[in-house]
């Protein structure tokens, strides 16, 4: 599989920031998200995966060498990533995630009441 290396032997935080700054779309996955059938992504949540055209940017961690940012052309993996994101949104709506977060009880009658909280 052909790949490009954009950052080498860096920290996970710097690698995440690179992906966030240099991608057209950024998706966040949990550690252990499976890529290319046999790679389970290692990382500190939220783990960023970027999309730039047909290229997917992601982190690769080696215990003795630090974190790398790799880019691989894969429309199939990008489609799976977008599908995974759509599924997450669908799940949060079904569980009432958005509504649940917004439900803080009755609205305060005055500013004084707000500060009491």
């Amino acid at each position: 599989m052909k790949y490009k290396l954009y950052l080498e032997r860096t920290s996970f935080k710097d690698a995440r920031e690179y992906i966030e700054k240099n991608s057209e779309e950024v998706y966040y996955v949990n550690p252990g998200y499976k890529l290319f059938k046999d790679y389970y992504i290692i990382g500190v949540p939220p783990v960023a995966i970027g999309v730039r055209g047909t290229e997917m940017l992601f982190t690769y961690v080696k215990p003795c060498h630090g974190t790398f940012v790799m880019g691989i052309d894969s429309e199939e993996e990008i489609a799976r990533l977008r599908e995974n994101e759509a599924e997450k949104i669908k799940k949060s709506l079904t569980k009432g995630g958005v509504k649940g977060k917004a439900d803080f009880g009755p609205a305060p009658a005055s500013f004084g009441e707000m500060y009491k909280k």
Partner: protein, 163 residues
């Protein structure tokens, strides 16, 4: 069945019977790691734990050369393969000790915190142990000691862990 030497830890044995412990080795370049992995495996086994040690190819080779007849460590596994198995829910552990002295090691610890149900201990050592320990913001109990060549500061802290 129990040997005489094990009677003192009978209570701990009863509590840990049938329980699995995982030790995750980071990059093996700091000497105290291998020493502490062998020590902790031995200590856990004496208390009745079933212990598996995971690491990179290099770390596992170092361990096997140091313990040629598998007297201390019987079960070893490739770290990345194990992560796949934990994610696929083929295996999991009751307790996990993740050894780390670098950002990469800390990142592996975060991964186990997210994928495993194990009670996680972040064993942080090396020259930058304190700063690295502070950077850990995922659920883990931290064991931090500025130890590189002398294992005793780390050993003393590990000895205080109550499982």
């Amino acid at each position: 069945m129990l040997s005489i030497n094990r009677n003192n830890s009978k209570e701990m044995e009863d509590m840990s019977e049938g329980k699995n412990a995982l030790l995750v080795m980071g990059c093996p370049e700091v000497p105290v790691q291998m020493s502490m992995v062998i020590y902790l495996t031995h200590k856990l086994k004496k208390s009745g734990w079933d212990v598996t040690v995971a690491g990179t190819d290099a770390a596992v080779k170092l361990l096997k050369v140091a313990d040629p007849e598998s007297y201390y460590v019987q079960k070893t596994v490739d770290l990345d393969e194990l992560i796949g198995d934990v994610v696929e829910k083929k295996v999991d552990f009751d307790v996990c000790f993740a050894f780390m002295h670098s950002d990469a090691g800390m990142t592996y610890g975060a991964t186990f915190s997210a994928i495993s149900k194990a009670r996680l201990f972040a064993v942080v050592f090396g020259k930058n142990a304190e700063a690295l320990g502070e950077s850990i913001d995922y659920p883990a109990e931290k064991i931090v000691a500025k130890a590189t060549h002398n294992p005793n500061p780390l050993k003393n802290k590990i000895d205080k862990v109550v499982l």
